[in-house]
Symmetry: C3
Subunit: 108 residues, 3 copies
């Protein structure tokens, strides 16, 4: 187990994903952000109905103790009222990468 988390949140446009990524990096709430530039086909239940939407997924690598601060910053910047924010703890990492994430992210 490591102290790193990968946070996923889907966005309604590539531009939104890029802007949120920029804000997280500006605030040192992320070591890196990845956005596949091609859309995902998203299908889900919402308010009792089946929905379909094109979305773009932002993946954020940060320290696990920054999850709440990072989620709050995502909510503040995100166009959805309730963006779905999921965090997956990294279980294995090489030492150099662990040190890099630890160094570049701000303290909680």
């Amino acid at each position: 187990m490591t102290d790193i988390v990968e946070i996923h949140v889907t966005c309604p446009s590539l531009l939104d994903a890029r802007e949120i990524a920029g804000k997280l990096l500006d605030e040192k709430l992320a070591a890196c952000c990845n956005i596949p530039v091609k859309e995902i086909d998203s299908r889900f239940w919402w308010q009792g109905k089946r929905q379909r939407q094109d979305e773009w997924r932002l993946a954020v690598k940060t320290r696990a103790d920054l999850f709440e601060a990072c989620a709050a910053a995502i909510r503040a910047a995100h166009p959805y009222e309730t963006p779905a924010i999921f965090g997956f703890r990294v279980d294995f990492v090489d030492a150099a990468t662990a040190a890099w994430v630890e160094e570049v992210c701000r303290k909680p």
Copy 2:
């Protein structure tokens, strides 16, 4: 740790991935399904040989206690004899998203 799992399964076409997603949502075995619309280059060992194939990856968010039911529904709908089904437990989530997954998925 949360009660949510993200299930990944690769499919031989975008259409297959969409159809499986539709069935899981119909049966309330998933809160949401995401499919990157661009293919993945998949390379693997199978029956003693190196294989290469274009695939599309379906990601399913559901309750962890539905993993078996969801995997059974994927196997029933999937064109492969043995689809590779992997589940990653979500470790962190915001409260609103956790409540949404809990609400929209059926009970096990």
Copy 3:
């Protein structure tokens, strides 16, 4: 929990990702490798500066006890001095897929 890990590493080109995948499969350090063929927009802090780069992400399924050997092989084949290598343990898997990963990967 399972004995399987999914390892992620980003590469500066699709060709690099394919070559690393090929080496891991040659050495039986992976059961399968997946590379979305479309690039990701990668933004990160590196050496005190904000950077942006197109990258391709290689995802490797292997036995968890091969993480170190797999990471060493990735470092040896990777054009970056310090590739960022993250491993996520698979928490749920169907029995046939677990047996396949166990069988095709070499012993540690």
